[in-house]
C-alpha cells in the first residue's frame, strides 16, 4: 500500500513557485510537505535549495506563487505562523559581534515562546555553555550550528526548516542531530514536522521519511522513502552485459569487472535471463541516479555514464 495514496495532511502547501536566481530559474508548480514527518530536500549546490527554503521561512519575499502552512490554504506566512516555525541556516543569521548571551536576548525579544532556561540547558547539553561570552564570529561552524539549534529547540514550534544542518557537523554530531530530530518528532506525536536540505543524504538517510530531489530549480522526483525503495532497484551484473542493461537502467556506472546501476522495478522484467543481482537501493543511490539522469538532460532511460 503506497503512502502517497493515503490521505496525508500537509504542513506546507505551495503552488506555482517561481523565482529567478542567478542564472537559474526556480520553478515548482506544486509542493506539499507531509505533516508529522522529516522531509529531505536533496540536491547539488546551486540546485536552488537555499532559494526555496528562504522563501518558505520568510527570509525572502520576492517570489511569485502562493505558500500556505499547517494544512490551511488560507494561512499565509505572517508573524503568528513564523512563531510556530524554527529556522536554522548557513547564512549571516546573527550579528557577528553578538555574544551567546545576546543571542539569548534577541531570541527572547523575537519569539514569545522562547524559554531562557531551556536554552541554557541545551547550550550545556551541546557543550557550548562555556562560550557564553564568546562572540558568534569566533565560534567554529559546528558550534554556530549548535547555537542555532539550541535557540530553535528552546521554542515551542511545530515546524523546523533547516538549511544544510548537517554540513558543519562532524559525524558524531550528525548522529546527535538525527537523534534530536527524532526526539522533536516524537514529542510532537504527529503534530510536528521537519523540512531540511542537504547535498549529502547518506548521513541523514535514517531520519528521512519523505524526500524531494531538486535539480536546476525544479523538483525532479519525490516520494516517501519506503515507496521510492520499492520503485527503484539496484542492479549489479557482469561487464559483458553492461551494454544491454545500459538501455534499461536509469543510470549506471561500470568498470572492467562489472556494472552497477539503478532501474525502475517495473523495468526489471526487461532484464530477465541476464546474470544479475537485484537489491534494494539506499536512498543515496537513488538520489545519485536520479540526479545524474537529470543533469545529462536526456530522456530518463538507459544512459551509460561510463564512469
Amino acid at each position: 500500500m503506497k503512502q502517497a495514496e493515503q490521505k496525508q495532511e500537509s504542513v506546507i502547501q505551495a503552488g506555482n513557485l517561481n523565482k529567478k536566481y542567478g542564472d537559474f530559474q526556480l520553478s515548482i508548480p506544486r509542493l506539499e510537505i507531509p505533516r508529522g514527518f522529516a522531509t529531505a530536500l536533496i540536491g547539488e549546490n546551486g540546485a536552488g535549495k537555499t532559494t526555496l527554503l528562504n522563501i518558505l521561512s520568510g527570509i525572502r519575499l520576492d517570489f511569485q506563487g502562493e505558500v500556505s502552512y499547517f494544512g490551511d490554504r488560507s494561512r499565509k506566512l505572517d508573524g503568528s505562523v513564523q512563531e510556530r516555525i524554527g529556522y536554522t541556516g548557513p547564512g549571516s543569521y546573527y550579528l557577528p559581534h553578538w555574544t551567546i548571551r545576546q543571542v539569548e536576548e534577541i531570541s527572547g525579544l523575537l519569539f514569545a515562546g522562547f524559554q531562557k532556561e531551556r536554552f541554557r540547558e541545551l547550550c550545556e547539553d551541546m557543550g557550548i555553555s562555556r562560550s557564553m561570552t564568546k562572540s558568534v564570529k569566533k565560534l567554529s561552524d559546528g558550534n554556530r550550528m549548535k547555537l542555532m539549534l539550541a535557540a530553535v529547540l528552546s521554542r515551542d514550534t511545530e515546524l523546523l526548516i533547516m538549511d544544510e544542518p548537517a554540513s558543519p557537523l562532524d559525524p558524531l554530531m550528525r548522529e546527535q542531530l538525527c537523534d534530536r530530530m527524532r526526539d522533536y518528532l516524537e514529542e510532537g506525536d504527529g503534530e510536528r514536522s521537519i523540512f531540511f536540505s542537504t547535498h549529502n543524504i547518506a548521513d541523514m538517510e535514517n531520519v528521512t521519511d519523505y524526500c524531494l530531489i531538486m535539480e536546476h530549480g525544479t523538483i525532479v522526483e519525490e516520494g516517501f522513502v519506503e515507496d521510492l525503495k520499492e520503485e527503484y532497484a539496484l542492479v549489479k551484473g557482469e561487464a559483458s552485459d553492461a551494454y544491454q542493461t545500459g538501455k534499461v537502467l536509469f543510470s549506471m556506472s561500470r568498470n572492467s569487472y562489472g556494472f552497477e546501476g539503478i532501474c525502475r522495478t517495473r523495468d526489471l522484467e526487461r532484464l530477465a535471463g541476464l546474470d544479475i543481482a537485484v537489491e534494494i537501493p539506499t536512498l543515496s543511490q537513488i538520489c545519485v541516479a536520479v540526479m545524474k539522469a537529470n543533469t545529462v538532460n536526456s530522456p530518463r532511460k538507459g544512459r551509460d555514464s561510463g564512469l
Binding site: Y21, S57, G58, I59, R60, L61, D62, D78, G79, S80, Q82, E83, I85, Y87, G89, G91, S92, Y93, Y94, L95, P96, H97, Q102, E105, I106, S107, L109, L110, F111
Partner: protein
Amino acid sequence: MKKKIKSYLVFSSFSYKVCIFLLMPAVLVGIGIGIVSIFGELGLTATAMLLTMAEILSDHWLFSGLMAKESERMEVLRTSGMGMEIMKNALILDLLRKLLTAFGILAVCELYAGHWGGLLLMAMVSYVFSAAGTFLARYGGGLAVNVCIGQISAFLVLGCLFCVFQSGSWRFRVGFELLFLALGVLASVLTVSKAMRKVKGGYYDQ
C-alpha cells in the same frame, strides 16, 4: 518601554555601551566644564560641536557599521514577525538617547557656567546635526565617512549657533528654536525611515 529599551541595547556590544553611556558623557562634560571655566559661555557652543561630532563618529560602531556592510544581514530578524518592529524600536531609542544626551550634557555645563538660556536651542541644533549626520553616514563608506561628516556637522553647529547669538534679537532666537524643533522632528523621521527601508531591503535580492 522596557522591551523597547532591551531592543535597543541588544544591538550594541558591551564596550560600546560603556563608551556611550559612561565615557562619552563623562569626557564631554569634563571638556565642557573645562572650556567654560577658561572661555566662559563659548564653551557651551564648543561642547555642542564636540557632542555632534562624537555622536556621528560613535554611530560607526552601531548602526552605520551595520547598514553599510553587506555581510551583516541579520536574517534572524526576518524569521520573526517582531523583527522589523525591534529594529525600529532600536533606531528610535537611539535617537531618543541622542536627544537626552544632548540636553543632559549641555544642561550640566550650563549649570556650571551659571548661565541659563539657550539650552533648548543648543541642544536642538546639536541633535539635528547629530541625527542628520548619522542619517548620511549610514549610507555607507566606513569610519572615514563618519569622521568627515562628523567634522563638517560640528562646524555647521558652530555656524548656526554663532549666527543666532550674534543677532541678539529675541524673536530671531525663538524663530530659530522653532525651526530646529521642526528640523529635529524631520531629521528623526527621515533617519528612522531610511534605515528601516535599508533593513527591509534584505527581504529582496538586488
